[in-house]
Amino acid sequence: MRVRNRGAAPDDGNAPPARGASAPPPDPDRAARRSRLWSQLDLKLSPYLFVSPYFLLFGVFGLFPVLFTFWISLHDWGLLAGKQEFVGLDNYAFLLGDEKFWNALANTLGIFFLAIVPQLMLALLLADTLNRSIRLRGFFRVGIIIPYVTSIAAMAIIFGQLFGREFGLINYGLETLGMGGIDWQNNRLASWTAIAVMIDWRWLGFNTLIYLAAMQAIPRDMFEAAAIDGASRLRQFFQITVPMVRPTIMFTVIISTIGQMQLFTEPVIFGQGYGGGTQGQFQTVAMLMFEEAMGAQNFGYGSAIAWVIFLLIVVFALVNVLSVGRIRSAN
C-alpha cells in the first residue's frame, strides 16, 4: 500500500516521476501556474469528490431522518394529528417506566441469545467442514447461502405454518410420535425458539461463508505440522482454527447484534401484527415502536423508542469493539 502514496514515491531516477515531483523550475507564466494549481486542487479535492456521493446520500437518507426522529421524539406528535406540543424528554421518561418497553427489550435480548449462540457455533463447525477436502465442496458452499437469498417474508410465512398449533407440520410430527403438541405462539420460550429457528435458518449460511473466508487465510502447513505432531481433528479445530478466526468471530457478533436489535419481520409475520402474541410474549423493541407509531398513532413516543434502539446498538457495538481490542492485545 505504501508505494502507492503519491508524494512519497522514491525518486530513483528510473521510475516515472510522480505527479508534482517533476515540476519545472518556477515559471512566471500564468498558464503554467494555473495548471499547477489545478493539479494541486485535483490532488487534494478529487478524493473527496469521489467519496462525496455516499456522504451526500447518507446525509439525506441517514443523518437527516435520525436527527428529525429525535426532534419528533421531543414532542407530543400524532401521526394524523401532527405536532401538538413540545414535551422535552417526557417520552424518554415515560419509556423508562414503561413495562411494555422492558418486556420488549427482554424479548429482544432473549431471542438474540437463543438465536445467535447456537448459530455462530454451528456456522463455525460448518465452515470447518467446508474448509476440508470433501466431495462436491463447491456445491455445498453455494448451497449453504441459498436460504439467505430467499425472501424473508416468504420464509416467515412458511415457518409460521410449520409452527401452527392446530394444523402445523411440526406439531403433527410431535403428535404422531406420541408427544403432545406445543403451543408455539403462546408459550414464551416456545415462541422465542420458533423465531430463533427462523433467524438461524436464514443467517447460518451467511456467517458460515464469512468464517470460511477467514479459515482460507490460515496457512495449510500449520494444520499439516499439527497433524504430524499427532493433533486430532478436534484439537486442530480448537487450537488452530478457532484462535486464528477469533477477530472474524467478533465481527460476526457485532453484525448479528446490530441486526438482532432491529428484529422485526420474522416475529411480526409469526404473530400477525405488532403485538407479538396475545400478551406480548415475543414483542420485540422494533415491534413496539411500530405498534406505538402506527397502531396507537403516537409518533412521538415511537420516535423515542427508535432513538433508544439506536443508542442501544451504539452501546452494544462499543462493548464489542472494546472487547475485540482486549482479545487482540491478549494475543
Partner: protein, 428 residues
C-alpha cells in the same frame, strides 16, 4: 369488507407496494390534455371490477384499482400516506373503525358538497350519510356497504348433535345470547368432533356493536371502557363461552383459523354479509351445502362498512368525485352486492328485488338478501371514537384471546385490556 389470510397479506403488500412505485413513477395521470387516469384504493373484496369497466366505457376515464389484502395493512398505508401528504390514490376507501381517526386531518380531503354530492342524501341510510361528515360539516365520504350481522353454521354438525338444522328453527333457538350459549353447551355435550365456535373475539365484537350505543370511547372521545354496558355484556357472554369451553381457541385470520374452516373444526361463526365470500373461499367445494345462515341473537347489528373519500392529494378531484358518486350510487351499490354480497347502505337498494330475492347457492340457497336487508333497515349505528380500531384490536384480539387460550384469567385479561386502551386513548 373481508380480510385475507396471512399469506395473502404479504403477497398483497408486496404487490401493492410495487403498484405504488409504478404509480409514483408515472405521476399518476395523463396530464397532457387527454382523459385522466384515476387510481382507486380498496382492501379485501369490494366487488368493483365490473363497475369500473362500466365507468371507463361511459366516461372514457381509465381507472386502476389497487387492492390491499387485509384491512390492517390498508389502514396503515392510508394513515402513513395521509400524514406524508403524498402517495394516495384519487379515491380511497375508509373503513368505519378508522373513520374518526382519519377525520382528524379533515383538510386532507375534498368536501364532496363542492362536487354536487349533496343531492345524494336521500339515497343513503340516515346514519351512514351522517357519519360521512366531519364535525365541521364537510362531506368527507360517501357510504359504500354495511356489514349487517348473522350467524353462519354447519347444518351437518347441527344434525349430528341432535339440534334442529333448518335456518328458521335455528334462528328461533337462539333469540338471545344466553340462548346461544345454551345451544353451545348442548352442542358440546354431543359427540360431534368439532368446537361450537371458532373464537369468542368476534362474537364479543358483534355483541358490543348491537348495543347501538358507545363501546370503548364516548362522543367526547373519553375512554369509557370500564363503564360501558356493551363491553361488560360482551365480556360476560364471551366469558361464559370460555368457561364452558365452547371455542376452538383460534385467532381469527390466522393460518390455523383458515385451515380450521377448511377442515370443519368448528360449527358456527359470526357472519356479516361480506363473510359469506370468506367462508366460500376458505371452505371450498367440500363445504358447499354444509353451511347455512341464521339470524344473529339479539337485535341485529353491524360489522364492517366503508366510505369512499377523495384525498386532497389527487390531481383530478372532479373526476375522482364523479367516480366515488358512481360507485356509491344505486348502480354501484347493486353491482357490489351482486359481485360480492356487499350489503348496500341505501334503503332503496336494500328493498329492491335484486337484493330481497337474492339467494346464495353455496349456503343451501339461503335467502341472504332478505336476512341481511331486514336487519340493516333498522340498524342503530354504534359510536366508535378516535383510536377505536387500535383499542378493539388490543381488547378483543389480544386480551380476550389470551383469556380464551388460557394465558390469563379473567381479571388479568381485563386489566390488560383496560391498560392498553388507556394507553391508546391517552395519545388521541
Amino acid at each position: 369488507m373481508s380480510k385475507h389470510t396471512r399469506g395473502m397479506r404479504s403477497v398483497a403488500a408486496a404487490v401493492s407496494s410495487g403498484a405504488l412505485l409504478t404509480a409514483v413513477a408515472c405521476g399518476n395521470g395523463g396530464g397532457d390534455g387527454g382523459d385522466p387516469e384515476l387510481v382507486i384504493e380498496t382492501f379485501g373484496t369490494f366487488g368493483y371490477e365490473k363497475l369500473l369497466q362500466e365507468f371507463e366505457e361511459d366516461t372514457g376515464i381509465t381507472v386502476e384499482e389497487r387492492t390491499y389484502g387485509e384491512l390492517e395493512d390498508w389502514n396503515e398505508q392510508l394513515t402513513q400516506n395521509l400524514s406524508a401528504g403524498s402517495g394516495l390514490g384519487d379515491v380511497v376507501a375508509v373503513e368505519e373503525g378508522i373513520l374518526l381517526d382519519v377525520m382528524q386531518s379533515q383538510d386532507s380531503f375534498h368536501d364532496l358538497y363542492d362536487y354536487g354530492a349533496g343531492s345524494m342524501e336521500d339515497h343513503f341510510l340516515d346514519w351512514k350519510w351522517e357519519m360521512g361528515h366531519t364535525p365541521s360539516g364537510r362531506l368527507l365520504g360517501l357510504g359504500t356497504d354495511i356489514g349487517g350481522m348473522a350467524v353462519c353454521y354447519r347444518t351437518d354438525y347441527f344434525e349430528q348433535a341432535g339440534l334442529p338444522s333448518d335456518r328458521e328453527e335455528v334462528s328461533e333457538l337462539w333469540q338471545t345470547w344466553d340462548d346461544f350459549v345454551e345451544v353451545g353447551v348442548e352442542f358440546s355435550e354431543s359427540d360431534v368432533d368439532a368446537a361450537f365456535a371458532d373464537t369468542t373475539t368476534e362474537y364479543s365484537n358483534a355483541i358490543m356493536r348491537q348495543s347501538g350505543d358507545v363501546m370503548f370511547l364516548d362522543q367526547e372521545n373519553e375512554l369509557v371502557i370500564e363503564e360501558s354496558d356493551s363491553v361488560e355484556r360482551a365480556w360476560d357472554i364471551a366469558g361464559r363461552m370460555i368457561e364452558e369451553d365452547l371455542t376452538a381457541e383460534l385467532e381469527m385470520w390466522s393460518d390455523d383459523w383458515t385451515a380450521a374452516i377448511q377442515s370443519g373444526a368448528f360449527a358456527t361463526m359470526p357472519c356479516p354479509s361480506w363473510m359469506l365470500g370468506q367462508i366460500e373461499e376458505n371452505a371450498g367445494e367440500e363445504g358447499e351445502g354444509k353451511w347455512d345462515v341464521a339470524r344473529v341473537p339479539g337485535d341485529g347489528g353491524n360489522w364492517g362498512g366503508s366510505w369512499l373519500a377523495v384525498p386532497e392529494q389527487t390531481d383530478h378531484p372532479e373526476e375522482a368525485a364523479q367516480l366515488a358518486q358512481f360507485l356509491t350510487g344505486p348502480e354501484g351499490h347493486l353491482g357490489a352486492w351482486e359481485a360480492r354480497n356487499n350489503l348496500p347502505s341505501s334503503p332503496e337498494t336494500l328493498q329492491s328485488d335484486e337484493v330481497q330475492n337474492h339467494t346464495n347457492p353455496y349456503f343451501n340457497d339461503a335467502p341472504v338478501g332478505e336476512i341481511y336487508a331486514q336487519g340493516a333497515m333498522d340498524l342503530e349505528p354504534t359510536h366508535f371514537g378516535i383510536g377505536h380500531f387500535a383499542i378493539q384490536q388490543s381488547t378483543n384480539t389480544e386480551a380476550l384471546l389470551s383469556w380464551e387460550q388460557g394465558q390469563a384469567d379473567r381479571e388479568e385479561a381485563w386489566e390488560q385490556a383496560v391498560q392498553d386502551a388507556e394507553r391508546i386513548a391517552e395519545n388521541n
